[in-house]
Symmetry: C2
Subunit: 444 residues, 2 copies
């Protein structure tokens, strides 16, 4: 036989049973929290018309979109007409424009699906990864931002995180601070990249970095002073940031006030240095960090103009996206998964001595499954010792044995591999005997 490459495509992964159980556990916790906030589930296709995606994520984003070849006679043209979903926000904006009449005026949706980016794979960075998005459309109220922060905070708390910080800033405030420092508009993005590193490289490092980006030393020093003042200000800004900046600051203060009494209270830190990469944000921006992860666990913000790009009619919107793989990485490193996730594939395995007895095994299994048990039937008439060893290797702690004696008497021998005991019971008592053994196995 010839053989073929068997690894998954570069930057993608196979999820074996324990991986899937961990992922579903995390998704389940997040989903239940989102539903308690009244968010409803939405799903969109993995594949979008290519023009839906291009031009939404900036030049770098365009490069990272996976493009799908036209089919049939057009394949040879080498042209692409479809592309893989790059995030869940642009498809949401398209859905909002397309299905407007079928959706509530204030649409709150969550969406937990994979996205694809042709990024260079690295530790914790994949080409296929899941986003857990939650968005509110239809209102400009700061209550929207507050509820998003509270929901995400509830989700992380529900997973067992107790040391995360929600960084909060506002796009208009950011622009105002740069202007207050006298930084020319063409240097804004460079200055933000530099100031974003303040925690890591300190004020002197930031000043050097800014000068390398062509920002005058005087402006750099002024900007650092402005940011220090803004940071020190807490919920009060000791600076003249103009009308737009003041409104942005008021918006931030309103969000903070609303968060009192929620699980996000005390976890939100206003950070005038937070920038967020995506170009579609128009208002508040947020990002969640934990001490032992270099990147963020998630982020979001307000994007009031994106739906309008599809429908021509502007609809205010704000959202938050949690990164499933990053949450999983930190939870694995910290040992945060409940032990029950590493469970055996079944509660009990049914074994027979002779292939001719298999119909008895199938009938017993049907009865036990009806009682709610997870039952494996060993398919071959291997030596009984080999069968028991196999159950043990899977972590199954109970084996139900049907020998000739049991079959004739209408009984079954329930063998407890943990306690190394066994008893022979009628079929109708087998379920209870097995459950007792399963519980013992969990304690063992």
């Amino acid at each position: 036989m010839s053989t073929q490459r068997t690894e998954p495509a570069r930057g993608t992964r196979d999820f074996l049973p324990e991986d899937v159980r961990r992922r579903e556990y995390v998704v389940g916790v997040i989903r239940r929290v989102y539903e308690r906030y009244g968010f409803e589930p939405l799903e969109t296709p993995a594949v979008e018309n290519i023009e839906t995606l291009l031009g939404k994520y900036g030049e770098e984003g365009n490069q990272l979109v996976f493009k799908i070849l036209k089919r049939g006679e057009h394949e040879a043209s080498g042209q692409a007409d479809l592309a893989l979903r790059y995030d869940l926000t642009v498809p949401l904006a398209r859905v909002m424009a397309h299905h407007r009449a079928k959706l509530p005026r204030l649409f709150k949706r969550y969406q937990i699906q994979p996205v694809w980016r042709a990024d260079r794979p690295a530790r914790g960075r994949f080409r296929e990864f899941y986003q857990c998005d939650v968005d509110s459309l239809g209102s400009v109220s700061p209550l929207v931002e507050a509820e998003l922060c509270a929901a995400v905070s509830d989700a992380l708390t529900g997973l067992g995180f107790d040391d995360f910080v929600v960084r909060l800033n506002h796009r208009a405030l950011l622009t105002s601070l740069l202007e207050a420092a006298g930084i020319a508009r063409e240097h804004h993005s460079g200055a933000l990249v530099a100031i974003d590193k303040l925690d890591k490289i300190g004020p002197d490092g930031v000043r050097t970095d800014m000068e390398a980006r062509g920002i005058e030393g005087k402006s750099a020093a002024r900007l650092l002073e402005v940011f220090e003042t803004a940071r020190a200000g807490g919920t009060r800004l000791g600076l003249d940031v103009g009308e737009a900046g003041a409104a942005a600051w008021q918006n931030v203060a309103a969000i903070l006030a609303l968060l009192e009494g929620t699980s996000a209270s005390g976890r939100v830190r206003v950070d005038p240095g937070l920038a967020r990469g995506l170009s579609y944000y128009t208002g508040a921006i947020m990002e969640i960090a934990v001490p032992d992860l270099a990147g963020s666990l998630g982020g979001g913000g307000r994007y009031d103009d994106l739906v309008g790009m599809f429908s021509g009619q502007s609809i205010p919107a704000c959202g938050f996206s949690l990164g499933l793989e990053r949450i999983l990485v930190v939870m694995a490193e910290r040992g945060m998964f409940p032990p029950s996730l590493a469970s055996a594939p079944a509660d009990v395995m049914v074994a027979v001595f002779d292939a001719a007895d298999a119909p008895h095994a199938v009938r017993l299994a049907a009865r036990l499954r009806d009682e709610g048990l997870r039952v494996l039937v060993y398919p071959d008439a291997d030596r009984i010792g080999k069968q028991i060893k196999y159950a043990d290797s899977l972590g199954i702690s109970v084996v139900a044995i049907l020998g000739q004696t049991e079959i004739e008497a209408g009984t079954v021998t329930v063998k407890n591999l943990v306690a190394q005991t066994q008893e022979t019971v009628p079929h109708e008592a087998a379920g209870a005997a097995i459950l007792a053994g399963v519980k013992q196995g969990q304690r063992g």
Copy 2:
């Protein structure tokens, strides 16, 4: 503002909240049944290396694979190096070859994920659709086929289906019957296509169809006779089908015997005319049908050579795939979904008269969510009548109102929109009052 196309890509669909709830309900029932049989979850990437997929599905299949353009400097070449998953069986075979050492010797897995085919879209036929697959690897025992039929039968029964039939046949039996009728090998596939229509167009129609396919009238008549004899035979074959055919018949009889005492008993019909399209099948083949659907709800079979194409080491395998969209179509037409799926997005909506009171609404919502309720907070200070009308339009039957009086007294007014009653209670009693209203709403 300029506008863009907003429909999803051709042959794909957006799933709005009620669609997602229906899909998740069906998937949940199927998954719970599969887990009771000891099947474990597996997930594979949407994207595979292109050579993993090509050459596995026949020439027609190759044409229907969505291919992904190389990236960066190679994009202009128009070449593809990746492709979208076409089914869940070939990726399973790849996983089995790649992760052999990490998987149980007898690996039972289920996998519920989308696949993509560049088919011409039609009613009930999409380019992105979900398969619910369940496969056993590592054993040639007929118990494997029997458990797969039983599991799928349990799943459909659990969803409320009571009129499905599992058609069962065997690839080697099929070949033997054609040979017994004296049909030359090059006419086998044409003869099978014709015989597959026996129920629809009758013996005369089949004979005409066969002649149009170049099969002699004498052979056609002989084949019809052979099939009629085989069908009439029930669990006994009144024909000389050679050694391979007899072994296949024994295998079919063993599967039937094992199914006694399971939910599939009485639902399985041996159908020597069942062919199944895919070329990788090597043994028993199965298909599930209901009277009011032209196609099948699902199908499967044994494919003992597919894993060997990857690993060079043959591993016996058998599986069943249910089509999620077809199940959904029939369930929708028959009204089989539980009414609870059409539920409102929240149990209660919190309303305030004044924007300044929003922090009180957020705090009350946090308390109610902690008690397990699904709570929507109306984000804007619109007229209270407008807010209540909005809740009503979403099917929410209870509104919790915080007016100035309530806020000062630490109470909340719980308004039941169905019974048109209201009561004012302290915050700690609000949860119970809301739950009572929710229950009344469900009855209403």
